[in-house]
Symmetry: C2
Subunit: 343 residues, 2 copies
DNA sequence: AACCGGCCTGCAATCGATTACATATAGGTT
DNA sequence: AACCTATATGTAATCGATTGCAGGCCGGTT
């Protein structure tokens, strides 16, 4: 019968009212008499009417979508966060657009594309390195949509963010290793200019010096959160004359790379060296050995970021404070850490 | 100076031409004289003009977005596929909307929401179970956007799809185990009604019987591709009087769950049992033991799905054949498989 | 009876870009 | 010179929903 998708005028005709009334019945039901509303809803049902989002968005001057910028879509750490974001956004009838920022790095102008392009009502950034180019390029106009950072954040703290207590997580890890008798403790951290690296490293160093340990520079391994960089670190560790008896890795992925490469050299964890990770991704509890790590509430991180974004979009929040929301981490002790064999 | 985001009329005014010319200069450059085009482009640059997608989409009757339905966003297997989809779509100026179908299962009407709601120009489904409710609900109107399946597919083959040669993958796995001397081989498969389960199981059983092995029902373990179901299977295996000397798992995740749970019982792989996985997710090569598995070209799967979608959207393809695109798998031999100790 | 306020509803402008159609101009042909 | 074609540009309708404003109706007040 109906050869095209019904529009609001079709519903209006069937219901015998104006399009204005149809529109109101659907989006502001309380502003319409109940009897009328029922007729309209019945007509909408009958015709199979679906609102055209392009038209609505054009009129309302919004897009109904939030773009999430992920440093690396292939990294399992982010997937659970995305899931948390997605459900929460969906509840507010918002779509989630996902962009891998590796593309953005190659073409930084893409950011401004999303910023000013009516593509999204807001941006959730999981990549703290983004704003460098973003702010650097001078994009701060009132027309740019709200930005919320999750997990990572910007050095200047200019944007609202949700993240875990990275400093505390690092301290927990070090305290755990210290309690097991470890005194020569290595650090496998992330890229030097990364905020997570800095926070976790600072926490670890502070904890060490609180225990009267002054870390040696050759015990600091530089990675990039990836499996491969864990492998590299393993070689660096193997090359050391005085090897640390424990290593705190700034990501589970690096811990896995590290442990697996040692295994190839015939060394097993925690016998040869104790290892603590960070993140507690799904596989961590099922690695061999099960990984002792610092758990981040990934789903909450995502949900909170989405909630903050929704608040900002509905304008129910004064933008002044931008004080970061800090979620708690938890030390999960498993099998990759053990007491120092020779005390 | 400019208090609002510039629109096409602003550019037209600055350039001294009509909005039509501006529009054409931007979207069909060859239809406009070079001199004019340069003036327009300069004016666009000057004013900082950005096209308003809502308006464009309304007029063009499209949305510029493709929705990807993922069975479980938290599963790392999908992340690389998403990455492949995203880059490819981005090249055609399409956005990627991601939806976790766990939500859809709870509220099936969400599918029709996406189907008819002008939310997306097309749907890439990574979940073969979707169409059940989708078709079952009778949504087949000409107004529904194109659907492409990736990884999974529908039983009836009604939709175009890209997937790997699951049957062949299973045969490779079994042949590998057989060559190592294994004769009592267990199968850890997925949910019974899943197409992947069926294809892989069929391939495995066919290979077994080709080797003259008739599999016993108690060697077939039912899982759901998750870590936890691998753990369950480990218990089932442990309870067996005559344990298989090798197990072919239909996903790497299940293999990890299986292996790790055996490890907790003091049994190590491949000494106690050889294990082959399926997928070759990133961590597979860095698990302990490094997992022998069937590699799926995940990035290609995503990219191909996106390309198929783009073709369908541009209408340059006759929709008749719908013959699935099959990508090749590869056996990756690592350390989780070994010869039967007692031949 | 005239007036007022509240509640519904309808009219019509509007969001911003695209594009069918009309017009204008230049160059070429007979 | 008249005419034709191709190319370039402008005019204005259009996509579909939302919403400011105005008008109609009803009951109550003076």
């Amino acid at each position: 019968m109906i050869m095209r998708t019904p529009k609001i005028t079709d519903v209006a005709r069937v219901a015998g009212v104006s399009t204005a009334t149809v529109s109101r019945s659907l989006s502001k039901p309380e502003s319409v008499a109940e009897a009328t509303r029922n007729i309209v809803l019945a007509a909408a049902e009958l015709t199979g009417y679906r609102v055209n989002h392009a038209a609505r968005n054009l009129r309302r001057q919004r897009t109904g979508a939030v773009v999430v910028m992920v440093p690396n879509l292939g990294n399992p750490f982010f997937s659970e966060i995305l899931a948390g974001i997605e459900v929460t956004l969906a509840r507010s009838d918002l779509n989630m657009l996902v962009v891998d920022t590796r593309q953005v790095r190659a073409k930084p102008e893409l950011v401004s594309e999303y910023l000013h392009n009516n593509r999204a009502d807001g941006i959730i950034a999981l990549d703290g390195a983004l704003p460098g180019s973003l702010l650097g390029a001078g994009f701060e106009s009132p027309t740019s949509p709200p930005i919320v950072f999750a997990c990572e954040w910007t050095h200047d703290g200019a944007y609202p963010s949700v993240r875990v207590d990275n400093d505390h997580g690092a301290r927990l890890a070090i305290a755990h290793l210290h309690a097991l008798g470890h005194r020569r403790i290595g650090l496998l951290s992330g890229p030097k200019d990364n905020v997570l690296t800095q926070a976790r490293q600072a926490g670890a160093l502070a904890a060490l010096s609180a225990f009267g340990i002054s870390p040696r520079p050759d015990c600091l391994f530089r990675g990039d959160f990836s499996l491969d960089s864990g492998v590299m670190a393993a070689h660096a560790w193997l090359d050391l004359a005085e090897r640390p008896t424990a290593v705190f890795c700034a990501s589970d992925q690096m811990a896995f790379g590290f442990i697996s490469e040692l295994a190839r050299s015939g060394l097993s964890v925690p016998r040869a060296v104790s290892v603590v990770g960070f993140d507690d991704i799904d596989i961590a509890g099922r690695y061999i050995p099960a990984l002792t790590t610092i758990r981040q509430p990934r789903s909450s991180l995502g949900a909170t970021a989405a909630r903050m974004m929704i608040e900002r979009l509905s304008g129910t929040v004064d933008l002044e404070p931008a004080v970061p929301t800090i979620l708690e981490v938890e030390l999960i002790v498993r099998d990759s850490t053990a007491a120092v064999p020779f005390l």
